[in-house]
Amino acid sequence: MSATPLPSWAIELKNPPPYKLKSSIPDPPGYPSSQPSNSKKDKKSAPKRDPPSPEEMDTLKLKKAWEVALAPIKSLPMTAIMMYMSGNSLQIFSIMMIVMAFKNPIMGILGTNQAFERFETETNKSKVLQVKLVYVVMQFVALALGVWKVNGMGLLPTTRSDWLAWEAQREPVEFAVPGL
C-alpha cells in the first residue's frame, strides 16, 4: 500500500483534536464533554496499559474487600449519635432505630459470603477469609451498639426485678387458722 499520508482533516475526522480545556467557551448541551474525553483518554491509555496480572487483580480485589469489610464501622459514629439523641423512651423512632440496629448487622453476618463473593478467587482465598472475619467482627461491633442502646432503654433483663415473675413465693410448711 502506498503510504499516502492522510490529509489532516481526515486524521482529525478520525481522531479529533483533544478538547481544549483552556477554551472558555462552554460546550453546548449534548456536546461530548469531559465524559467522552475521559473515556477517550482511557481508551488511549488502555491500550497502553497491560492487562493486570492475576496477582495485581488479587491485591486490587483484596483492597476492595477491605473497604467492604470496614464499611459497617464507618457508619457507627453516626448511628451512635442518632441513638443517643433519640433518648431512652419507647417511641416509634427509637424502636425503628433499634430494629435497624439489630437487623443490619445480623443480615450482614448472614450475607457475609455473598458480600465477598466477587472478590474471592482461587488464590486469595485465605486472605479474603481474614477480611471476612474482620467484617464479621465489625458487624458484631455494630450489634453491640444496638445492645448498648437496648440496655440503655432498660429492655435487657439484667436486673433482679426482670426475673421477679419467675421467682416463686415461699410456701409455708405449717398453716394456722384464726378463730378469734
Binding site: E174, F175, A176, P178, L180
Partner: protein, 837 residues
C-alpha cells in the same frame, strides 16, 4: 309522752331523775317548750306511763318489789298539776315486770290499764280513776294478748282485745260505760286460724277495727259485729302474715257508704307491707336492718351441670370426651333461643341498657358481678341478696324466732360453693344450713339458752373444709380424726390470752393440745385483732424499686396483728404474731393513745394498718400537741436491703417451727411504718380484694360521723413516701410522692356517694371475675353494697365508650366497600381494554 287539750296542745313528759329515785312529770308548753307545771314524787316505785282523760292526768306506777308489783295510779289536776288522788290497785301478784302491763290507754274518754296473769287465762282491766278492776276470761291456749283502743278523746270508749293462740287469733270488743266505768263485752270476732293483726282507727266518734289475716282484710265497727267491708288479699309473691298493723279508714261520701281502708302491716318475715283495700301496694324488707353476719356466695351452677361435670371427672378420658360431646349436642336444643336473644342483647348492649336476663332466674355473668350475699340479721332472718341486681332480696327465710330483746349471735358463716349450701353457726349452739340459691332450710337447730360458742374457725379437715366451733375459753375438746383440723387453730383463752391449738391424733379421736400461748403484759388488753383475708392473691412477691432492684415482700399467711392498749399508760402496742409458733415477729408501741376510743386494724398481703386516736405533745416541740385520729400503716419486707430474700435465701418453703440456723434466729420481717392523720374517725377497716391481686388495693373504712364508707387508695397510705423532701425521679417512677401527714376525706373517695349509711359494723369484700373490680358489702344497721375499682375499670369498656359510632363506622365501611368494589372493578377492566395511546 301524751298530749292534753287546752287552747294549745301541751305535752306531758314523764322523767326519771336522780338515778331513778325521783319521778317528775312536766307539762310542757307546746308552743315554746316552757314548763307549765311540774309534779315531783320521790318514791322507789317504777314510773310506767302517763295518761289523760278529759279532765285528769294519771300517772301509773308499779308499786312494790320486782316479781310482785301492784299498780299505783296518781291522779293529777290537768291545769295545776296538783295531786288529787292516789289509788292502789291490787294485781293479785300477777305483775312481775314492767313488760307485763300490756296497755295503758291515753287521751281517750276512758283510759284503761290492762294486764293478764302469767298463764294468759284472764285479762284484768282497770279504768283509770276507778279503784276496782274487772276480770275477763281469755280464749284457751292464749299466748299473747294485745289491746287496741282509740287514741282520740272524742272517740267512743270501746276497745278490742286481740288474743293470739298458737294456731289462731281472736278479737273481742268491749264497751266502757262512761258514767259507771263498767266494762261490758259487746261482741266477738271469730277465732281464725293463722296469724292476724288488728288495727284501730277512728273517724270522729266512730271507732273501726281492721282485721288483717293471711288472706283477707275485714273492717268492722266497734258498735256491732256487722262486717262493713271485706277484701280478699290478692296473693302476692310472698305471703303476708301480719303481726302488727295500723290502718286508716275513710268513709266514702255518698249514699252507699262504702269504706276504703289502707293498712300498713308488719309481717312475720320482718317486712313492712302496705295493703290498700286488699291489694298489696308495696313491700319493704325492713328486716334487712341489723345484719350480724354476711358472706359472699357464688350463684350455684345448675345442679345437673355440676353432676354431669362430676361424672366426667370420674370416668376415663375417652368416656368423658364422648359424654361431653353428647352433652354439647344435647345443649344444641337451646341454640335457637340463644340465637333469638342475640339481637335483643346486641341492641341493649349498644343502647347501654341493662341486659335483662329472661325470667328472674339467677345466673352468673361473665364479669362476676352477679353474686349472692347471704345476710343474717339479729332478728333471726336470713336473706339472699343478688348484688348484681342492686341487692334485691332473692329469698328470705326465718331461721329462728329470736325472743324479744335478744339478738341472734352469729359466730360463723360459711358458704360451701360446691354443694351450694351456706352454714350459719350461732353462739348458743345453734346452726342452720340453707341452700344458697333458694334459701331452703336443709337442717337447723334452735338456739339453746346458754351461749356455749366463743367463736368459730374455718378449718381444713380430712373430710373437707368445715366450720369448727370453739367453746368458751377457747376449749374445743376432742374430735374424731376425720373432723380434726389439720392446721393450728388460734383462739382466745379464759384470761384473754391468745393460744394456738393443734390436734394430736390418738386412735380414732384427736385431742387438742396447746402449742403456744401469748399472754399480754399485766396492764394491756387486746382491743383489735386483724388477720389476712382467706383469699389474698399476691400478684408479685416483691416490689420493684426505682433502680430496678427488688424489695421482697414478707408474705407469711400465718400472721395476725394484735392491738393491745394500756389504759394507765395510754399506749397502744401493735404485735405481729406468727400464728404457728406464737412468736412475736414485730411489735410497735405508740404513746399518747386514747384507750377509750376504738382501735381498729386491718391486714392484707404484706402490710397492715391500725387506726387509733392519738393525743400527745410533739417530741421536737413540746409546745405543740397533736390530737386526732391516726392511721399507722406498716409494710413487711423480707430484708432491709433490696435484692435480698433474707436469711432463708432461695428456700422454697419455710417453717415457723424450724428456725433457720443463723444468729438472728427466726426470719423476722423488716418493717417500714408511717403514720397519717385522718380527717375523721374510721372504723370497720377492710381491704379490697381482686382476683389476681394485680389491681392496687383500697383500704375501705366506715366513717361513723359522716355516715359513709371511704376507699383510701393504698398509694396514699404508703409507708415509704419520702419525708421532708420531694421524691427523686427513681422514687417517682415507683409511684412515691412526698409525705404529707394529713389524709383528707375526699368526697370523691366516699364510695357510698350521697347515701347515708348508718351503723356499719363490718365490711366484706370479694373478687369479681374481672381483675379490676372488687365487690364490697357493708352491713350493720344499714346494708350497703357496691363495686370498687381501685385502679379504675381497665378491663371493661366504660359507659362512655361509643359503641354506636364503632358499629356505625364498621357498617359505613362495609357499605362503602360493597358499593365501591364493582365500580373499581369496572374501571380496571375498562383500563385494560382501552387502547394504549
Amino acid at each position: 309522752m301524751e298530749m292534753t287539750e287546752a287552747k294549745r296542745k301541751d305535752i306531758l313528759v314523764l322523767f326519771e331523775e336522780k338515778g331513778n329515785e325521783e319521778t317528775v312529770l312536766r307539762r310542757l308548753n307546746a308552743v315554746d317548750g316552757s314548763v307549765v307545771w311540774e309534779f315531783r314524787e320521790v318514791t322507789k316505785d317504777v314510773p310506767l306511763q302517763v295518761s289523760t282523760n278529759v279532765e285528769k292526768v294519771f300517772v301509773v306506777f308499779l308499786k312494790g318489789t320486782k316479781g310482785a308489783y301492784s299498780l299505783k295510779v296518781t291522779t293529777l289536776d290537768t291545769l295545776t298539776g296538783k295531786r288529787l288522788d292516789e289509788l292502789v290497785i291490787g294485781t293479785k301478784a300477777n305483775l312481775n315486770d314492767e313488760e307485763d302491763i300490756m296497755f295503758v290507754g291515753a287521751n281517750s274518754a276512758a283510759p284503761i290499764v290492762a294486764w293478764t296473769d302469767t298463764e294468759h287465762t284472764t285479762l284484768r282491766v282497770n279504768v283509770l280513776g276507778l279503784k276496782t278492776s274487772q276480770e275477763f276470761p281469755l280464749v284457751e291456749d292464749t299466748v299473747e294478748v294485745e289491746i287496741h283502743a282509740p287514741h282520740l278523746i272524742q272517740s267512743q270508749p270501746h276497745f278490742l282485745v286481740h288474743s293470739k293462740t298458737a294456731t289462731g287469733n281472736k278479737g273481742e270488743v268491749y264497751h266502757i260505760d262512761l258514767k259507771t266505768g263498767h266494762i261490758s263485752k259487746a261482741y266477738d270476732l271469730p277465732l281464725l286460724p293463722g296469724k292476724g293483726a288488728f288495727a284501730t282507727s277512728s273517724i270522729s266518734a266512730n271507732v273501726y277495727f281492721t282485721r288483717i289475716t293471711e288472706d283477707e282484710l275485714i273492717l268492722v265497727s266497734s258498735q256491732s259485729h256487722g262486717v262493713l267491708g271485706r277484701w280478699p288479699l290478692k296473693k302476692a309473691s310472698s305471703k303476708v302474715t301480719p303481726i302488727h298493723a295500723v290502718s286508716e279508714v275513710i268513709k266514702k261520701v255518698g249514699a252507699d257508704g262504702n269504706y276504703a281502708v289502707r293498712s300498713a302491716a308488719l309481717t312475720t318475715d320482718d317486712e313492712w307491707t302496705l295493703v290498700r283495700s286488699g291489694e298489696v301496694g308495696w313491700t319493704r324488707p325492713e328486716g334487712l336492718s341489723g345484719g350480724v353476719a354476711a358472706a359472699f356466695a357464688e350463684i350455684p351452677e345448675s345442679e345437673e351441670l355440676a353432676k354431669s361435670l362430676e361424672q366426667e371427672a370420674h370416668s376415663n378420658p375417652v368416656q368423658a370426651y364422648i359424654h361431653r360431646v353428647k352433652r354439647h349436642i344435647n345443649d344444641l336444643q337451646y341454640l335457637p333461643t340463644y340465637l333469638n336473644n342475640i339481637p335483643a342483647r346486641l341492641i341493649s348492649s349498644i343502647a347501654g341498657t341493662e341486659v335483662t336476663s329472661s325470667a328472674a332466674k339467677l345466673s352468673r355473668d361473665s364479669f362476676g358481678f352477679h353474686k349472692l350475699v347471704i345476710l343474717a340479721t339479729k332478728r333471726g332472718m336470713v336473706y339472699g341478696l343478688d348484688i348484681g341486681k342492686s341487692g334485691t332480696a332473692v329469698w328470705h327465710k326465718r331461721a329462728f324466732q329470736i325472743p324479744k330483746g335478744q339478738k341472734w349471735d352469729v359466730k360463723g358463716i360459711q358458704v360451701n360453693e360446691s354443694l351450694g349450701q351456706v352454714t350459719i353457726l350461732g353462739a348458743n349452739n345453734d346452726f342452720v344450713v340453707l341452700k344458697t340459691e333458694t334459701g331452703q332450710v336443709l337442717s337447723a337447730k334452735a338456739p339453746s339458752s346458754e351461749a356455749t360458742t366463743q367463736n368459730t374457725a374455718l378449718v381444713d379437715t380430712a373430710s373437707g373444709q368445715r366450720l369448727l366451733r370453739i367453746g368458751r375459753d377457747g376449749k374445743i375438746g376432742s374430735l374424731p380424726v376425720d373432723k380434726a383440723p389439720k392446721q393450728t387453730v388460734v383462739t382466745r383463752g379464759a384470761d384473754g390470752e391468745l393460744k394456738g391449738v393443734i390436734f394430736v391424733p390418738d386412735g380414732t379421736t384427736s385431742h387438742e393440745s396447746t402449742s403456744w400461748v401469748f399472754s399480754l403484759p399485766q396492764d394491756q388488753r387486746i382491743v383489735s385483732i386483724a388477720t389476712r383475708p382467706s383469699h389474698d392473691a399476691v400478684a408479685s412477691i416483691g416490689r420493684v424499686l426505682g433502680d430496678r432492684t427488688v424489695k421482697y415482700k414478707y408474705l407469711n399467711p400465718n400472721t395476725i396483728v394484735v392491738a393491745a392498749v394500756d389504759n394507765k399508760a395510754c399506749t397502744l402496742t401493735v404485735y405481729l404474731l406468727d400464728t404457728v409458733s406464737g412468736q412475736i415477729l414485730s411489735s410497735a408501741k405508740h404513746n399518747g393513745v386514747d384507750p377509750t376510743k376504738p382501735v381498729e386494724c386491718a391486714m392484707a398481703e404484706n402490710w397492715f394498718v391500725c387506726s387509733f386516736f392519738g393525743q400527745y405533745t410533739l417530741r421536737e416541740n413540746s409546745a405543740q400537741s397533736l390530737r386526732g385520729y391516726q392511721v399507722v400503716v406498716s409494710d413487711l419486707y423480707e430484708s432491709e436491703e433490696a435484692n435480698d430474700r433474707g436469711p432463708l435465701g432461695d428456700a422454697s418453703t419455710f417453717s415457723s417451727l424450724d428456725p433457720v440456723d443463723v444468729p438472728t434466729g427466726v426470719a423476722l420481717p423488716s418493717v417500714v411504718s408511717q403514720t397519717y392523720v385522718m380527717g375523721a374517725p374510721v372504723s370497720a377497716l377492710q381491704v379490697s380484694q381482686t382476683r389476681q391481686g394485680i389491681t392496687s388495693r383500697q383500704l375501705l373504712a366506715y366513717l361513723p360521723e359522716s355516715h359513709g364508707i371511704m376507699g383510701i387508695p393504698r398509694m396514699l397510705l404508703e409507708p415509704r413516701r419520702p419525708v421532708g423532701r420531694d421524691a427523686t425521679p427513681a422514687e417517682m417512677e415507683e409511684g412515691l410522692f412526698k409525705y404529707h401527714p394529713a389524709i383528707e376525706i375526699d368526697p370523691k373517695s366516699v364510695i357510698t356517694h350521697e347515701r347515708d349509711v348508718i351503723g356499719i359494723k363490718k365490711i366484706i369484700t370479694s373478687p369479681a371475675i374481672v381483675e379490676s373490680t372488687s365487690l364490697v358489702f357493708a352491713y350493720g344497721v344499714d346494708i350497703f353494697g357496691t363495686r370498687v375499682t381501685p385502679s379504675f375499670l381497665f378491663d371493661i369498656l366504660g359507659k362512655g365508650f361509643n359503641k354506636m359510632s364503632l358499629v356505625g363506622t364498621v357498617l359505613a365501611l362495609f357499605v362503602g366497600v360493597t358499593m365501591l368494589a364493582p365500580m373499581v372493578r369496572k374501571k380496571q377492566i375498562n383500563l385494560r381494554w382501552s387502547a394504549p395511546m
